[in-house]
């Protein structure tokens, strides 16, 4: 081989090795992620400042595009220490996502082998995590380390025939899980917003669910024929619950007793919002399933008005 060819080969190898330096890449990654966190904080501060002066911003402060693996993201919840957990629809995989920096920090699976079900809801209650499938079956587990498979137990409140569920939250005052109906089966008008309470101690549904007729929602300015819930989440600042509908693109805020506080559209332009969570500082996080594109997590500065 001539010296010129050797030099060329050495140059190519040098560039390749330089670009593969793990330490440098790691440092660059950390720097960029810190920069991201600063940018998100700046946008949030600007939105808060605008809100104080009366201009409520509906523009997101962060928007994270997830890889294909997370296409079926269907539930969000925040742990007591403020970390965001997300749930995959069919494979019982739970992901911890740093919503300030845009990183999937860890992934663990419920069950060994993983439970196969149509998961629709996720909520963290102290150190426990509850998952719910579309038939209302509840799975209780705990948080696992990255790459692990965690044990679980399950119970069926027997609501499978009542409605198709999509959305799970927790009411600490009543120590009960709240399960929102997407499609009402019987016992309530089809167009109504129906929410069941499950006492954690008794593992049974309350005798009477929360039923909010559609007329009550439309009286607040909405124009919906029905309200098919896709997520329910608790606002830690007020104790109220926010119910989201992917099909109606709407948000309904209710008190724990079931009184409607307000209705509004979901901010932004979402393909299929299936998960929502509200942080302690009032940021609204919305997760969109892929729906033919890429799954997305959007962070809004506030729940809106």
């Amino acid at each position: 081989m001539k010296p010129a060819a050797g030099a060329l080969l050495a140059a190519v190898l040098g560039v390749a090795l330089a670009s593969c330096s793990p330490a440098e890449n790691s440092a660059a990654r950390t720097r960029t992620l810190d920069e991201r966190a600063r940018e998100v904080a700046t946008r949030a501060a600007e939105a808060d400042s605008a809100a104080r002066s009366g201009a409520v911003s509906r523009a997101p402060i962060a928007l994270w595009i997830l890889p294909y693996h997370y296409a079926e993201i269907s539930g969000l919840t925040l742990t007591p220490d403020g970390r965001l957990l997300a749930l995959g629809d069919e494979n019982s995989e739970i992901w911890e996502i740093d919503y300030r920096r845009g990183v999937v920090s860890k992934r663990f699976t419920v069950g060994d082998p993983a439970i196969q079900a149509d998961f629709e809801g996720l909520v963290a209650v102290d150190k426990q995590i509850f998952l719910m499938d579309s038939k209302g079956r509840i799975y209780r587990t705990t948080e696992g380390a990255d790459g692990t498979q965690v044990a679980y137990d399950e119970f069926d409140p027997g609501l499978g025939k009542e409605c198709e569920f999509e959305g799970l939250s927790y009411d600490p005052a009543a120590a009960a899980l709240l399960m929102a109906c997407k499609h009402v089966g019987k016992g309530a008008p089809e167009s109504a917003l129906v929410i069941y309470r499950i006492s954690l101690s008794e593992r049974q549904a309350a005798a009477v669910p929360i039923v909010i007729p559609i007329g009550q929602l439309n009286a607040r300015g909405a124009r919906w024929k029905k309200f098919e819930a896709s997520e329910i989440t608790r606002d830690p600042r007020t104790g109220n619950f926010l119910v989201m509908s992917s099909l109606q693109r709407g948000l309904v805020e209710i008190t724990p007793a079931g009184a409607v506080v307000r209705v509004s559209d979901i901010p932004g332009n979402h393909r299929q919002p299936e998960g929502a969570a509200i942080t302690r500082d009032g940021r609204l996080i919305v997760a969109d399933e892929a729906a033919g594109d890429r799954p997305v997590i959007t962070v809004y500065p506030s729940v809106g008005s």
Binding site: L8, W64, R294, V296
Partner: protein, 368 residues
């Protein structure tokens, strides 16, 4: 292609060394890729192996609000309409696969030139990875799709007996490159192609792992045989390099004797000026029963040729025997008629027959 060849000649200084030409080709690919990434940062998705990293641990997400995300290898592809993105991805993956498999096909042809190769394998090598990449793109991460496709593919009975294990390796490589490209890890596909090619070339050039014959004999014999193989003196190329290098001195002598005998009989004995050859053709007869074939063929030759002689009989276990007749043909009947008569003489024992005529041999010799 002439333009491409000229560019390669220019870049390699006209060198025919496959190693140098491959090196230039890969450097050229790297340069094109770097340029592509510079102009279209989103193309990084094709090299990042995102679909592979889906299954791995901590993962940085694409920032949908910030365009500088490519700085740490994150690319915002959300600005493209999904269908356009899908079309561009599929197209780029398949073109990339082809670009990476081209040098593999060159290496395959170069290393098989002496022993011969099937054109179908060369074509398979180029097409198979494109198909595999397409399938992987379709399957994505869907277990259901994967099972469905497995079922469909199982219905297509694709079976090919490859004569050489090395051919199988080339087909495996084609599948590997296709898989890597399909999960959008073209970098892995490129490294696979590069390492494979240079390994194959090295193994081929050094004749690595060739089963040694007798050591003393090898030392004594390898140099003249090697000289013959290298063909540096302008003599005609050796058709089967591997075969020649495995000949023992005894076998090579016997073969040379046979060549000389046939040559003398057909073209006249060396040293005899103006010596007219007694025979001008060789008739080879493939037969299942040697004696029956002789009984059938020889009366025909008696009638149709000026003279003939049975020169040799080659027998191989499990295969038909071959009888070699040295023949002096007449002007009439023609050699086709003689062949026809030989074939008709015994359909039970004579399986086939063909002529090698001295004129044709002379012609081949002058062409070479």
């Amino acid at each position: 292609m002439p333009f491409f060849s000229k560019m390669m000649d220019l870049a390699t200084g006209g060198s025919e060394s496959p190693v140098r030409r491959l090196l230039v080709y890969y450097v050229f690919i790297v340069a094109i890729t770097v340029g592509l990434l510079y102009v279209f940062p989103a193309a990084n998705l094709l090299f990042s192996g995102e679909r592979v990293s889906d299954a791995l641990g901590p993962q940085v997400l694409t920032d949908g609000l910030h365009r500088g995300a490519a700085a740490i290898g994150i690319v915002d592809a959300s600005s493209l309409p999904p269908r356009l993105y899908m079309v561009l991805t599929a197209f780029a993956v398949m073109v990339g696969t082809l670009v990476l498999m081209l040098p593999v096909s060159w290496v395959y042809m170069a290393t098989r030139r002496s022993t011969g190769y099937a054109q179908s394998i060369v074509h398979t090598m180029l097409i198979l990875p494109i198909v595999v990449a397409g399938i992987v793109l379709i399957v994505r991460n869907s277990l259901a799709l994967a099972f469905s496709l497995a079922g469909i593919v199982a219905g297509v009975r694709f079976r090919a007996n490859l004569k050489d294990n090395r051919d199988t390796v080339f087909v495996f490589l084609a599948i590997g490159v296709g898989l890597a490209a399909g999960v959008q890890a073209l970098t892995v596909a490129a490294i696979l192609s590069l390492v494979f090619n240079f390994t194959i070339l090295t193994v081929w050039r050094t004749d690595f792992g060739r089963s040694p014959l007798d050591l003393g004999q090898k030392v004594e014999w390898s140099e003249p045989l090697g000289a013959l193989v290298d063909n540096k003196d302008g003599t005609p190329p050796v058709p089967d390099r591997d075969l020649l290098l495995t000949l023992t001195p005894e076998k090579a002598d016997a073969l040379a004797d046979r060549f000389n005998r046939v040559r003398n009989l057909i073209a006249g004995e060396r040293g005899k000026k103006g010596g007219k050859p007694r025979y001008n053709a060789v008739l080879s007869v493939s037969a299942s029963d040697i004696e029956a074939a002789k009984r059938a063929v020889e009366p025909v030759l008696q009638q149709t040729t000026k003279r003939f002689r049975l020169d040799d009989v080659i027998e191989a276990a499990g295969k038909p025997a071959t009888l070699f007749y040295l023949v002096r043909l007449r002007k009439e009947p023609s050699q086709e008629d003689v062949l026809h008569a030989v074939m008709e003489s015994s359909k039970d024992s004579v399986l086939g027959a063909e002529f090698e005529v001295a004129k044709d041999l002379e012609k081949e010799k002058t062409e070479v």
